[in-house]
Amino acid sequence: MKLRELLRQPGVAMPALLLAMILLLAIVGPWFAPQPFDAIDFEADWGRGPSWAHPFGTDELGRDLFARVCVGGRLSLAVGLVSTLVALVIGIAWGAVAGYLGGRIDALMMRIVDILYALPFMFFVILLMVLFGRHWLLIFVAIGAVNWLDMARIVRGQTLALRRREFIDAAVIAGLGPAAIIRQHIVPNLIGVVIVCATLSIPQAILVESFLSFLGLGIQEPATSWGALVNDGARAMEVTPWGLIFPAGFLGLTLLCFNQLGDALREAFDGGALRRTRG
């Protein structure tokens, strides 16, 4: 399916457009902010509501909230995208190999996935963050390492189905090895599933990051994320409600769009044959 066709599917264009706008704002927004996201205006009153000078108000340390929401968005979106990429790479490789090779290897690989599934993974992420400090790279990898299991299961299922198709037989007869077949024939045919999975796993990753922020294990100040901002805002929601409303609005809208987009794409690709699995 071409991109243009895809965008014409019902329910795809709207969330995609919104997401593009949010992404654009996160990237260019800080250039239009009245002050850098980490600058403090010592003269001004701190924790003021929205005004012309500060469209989203200022936080409890007098920093411009608009700039912080934009910069936080960069991080949250990056966490979502990169950790999903990590999950994709591991999940596709694992699932495709297991599904294509089948037999004992498949059984073993899937048993490992089963075992990992039964681990309370969120707890490992917490332990990892405690252990290695809060490097942003680690946040990506840790969350990706949690999310690849779903991906591996779905990819394996699809690969099993693909393997019975004629073009795979043809490739085998043509003398291609398993690695080449997986690379050239299996993976390209997984693209639809993968796009759907990825779209649905991005909001998961963003939520996990915000959960870590709640526990105080998130990104290092003065850098910030939507999760960290929402968490700060939730503490003082009665006193400075704008501190919660703006970041929570962006966080919620983004997650909403990704979920909506994922649903719509799934419909578009195969009318709902893919079962949604979430963890």
């Binding site: 075992i115 039964a118 681990l119 917490i126 919620g252 979430r278």
Partner: protein, 306 residues
């Protein structure tokens, strides 16, 4: 059937072993120890404490010691809470977590299936879209925002319910259960709606409709059972989600459950307490998945547990 259960049990053993080994070494690799504090103890006292808890032995010996204790059902003493055993702490916290978790699960299931069914009856209608949008929103708002909001509304403004704490009463469980249930409720509503809408499109349903059966009877008698299968398979992840969520909810509401023990234990390097909680949760997830599989077999004749 019995042999199936037996084999499942056998795979549970390596699963739990991996779980314990990973958590054990991760915990012990983390910098800092259980007895570090602001006031730093004199070195001789520190050495004596380390010896008392065998922390001066090589790591593999400590691991062996821990496994040996486990075989006798001994989870060891807590480092942080003087004179308390981990089993005792879990025994006091688990019923509280379980009560709130079970209430949340019940709420998520009944509420989710009901909302999903209502939405699926008229796919594409305004009601359907509205409900699904609400469900998506429920999925998109973190529980550490929902929980304080609930407190503000129901405890402070309306003064209907307590703002936190735990006395074993129903009132104290209401808000935490709701906060815990909401994301799962939303997920289940979406699943039910999707599966039911699909089932209602199936040929045998069309036959039933042609016979003139009222729509709610069609849903209840014919469509709901097959539509519940994906919901059922979601219960495992839902249980895991509830456990993770309990960490937040127990902290915000000040509830003496084991989710709080986990975070406190990890931060205080209370090795045994963390291991105990992880093991407990791991075992729970395994048992839960097993029950779900059994139920799956009972509901879907195509699935054979062999």
């Amino acid at each position: 059937m019995l042999s199936y259960a037996g084999r499942r049990l056998l795979t549970a053993v390596p699963t739990l072993f991996v779980l314990i080994a990973l958590s054990f070494f991760l915990m012990h690799l983390a910098p800092g120890g259980p007895f570090d504090s602001e006031r730093s103890l004199p070195p001789e006292i520190e050495a004596r404490l380390a010896a008392e808890f065998h922390l001066d032995e090589p790591l593999w010996r400590q691991f062996g010691r821990y496994l040996g204790g486990l075989l006798h059902g001994d989870l060891g003493p807590s480092f942080q809470y003087e004179g308390q055993t981990v089993s005792g702490l879990i025994a006091s916290g688990a019923p509280v977590s379980a009560a709130i978790g079970a209430a949340a699960m019940l709420l998520a299931l009944s509420g989710g299936v009901a909302l999903g069914a209502i939405a699926a009856m008229r796919p594409g209608s305004r009601l359907d879209r509205g409900l699904m949008l609400i469900a998506l929103t429920g999925l998109s708002v973190p529980s550490y925002v929902v929980a304080p909001l609930l407190i503000l509304i129901f405890a402070l403004s309306l003064a209907w319910l307590p703002a936190g704490g735990w006395d074993g009463g129903i009132a104290a469980a209401v808000l935490p259960s709701i906060a815990l249930a909401l994301p799962q409720l939303a997920a289940i509503a979406r699943l039910t709606r999707g599966a039911l809408a699909e089932a209602l499109d199936a040929p045998w349903i069309r036959t039933a409709r042609a016979k003139g059966l009222p729509e709610h009877l069609i849903v209840l008698r014919h469509a709901l059972k097959p539509a519940l299968l994906p919901v059922l398979s979601y219960l495992g992840p839902a249980a895991a989600g509830l456990m993770t969520g309990s960490v937040v909810v127990e902290q915000v509401f000040g509830i003496p459950g084991i989710g709080r023990y986990f975070v406190q234990g990890a931060l205080n390097r209370d090795y045994t307490l963390v291991l105990g909680v992880v093991l407990f949760y791991g075992a729970l997830v395994i048992v839960f998945n097993f029950i779900v599989d059994l139920a799956y077999g009972a509901l879907d004749p195509r699935v054979r547990l062999a």
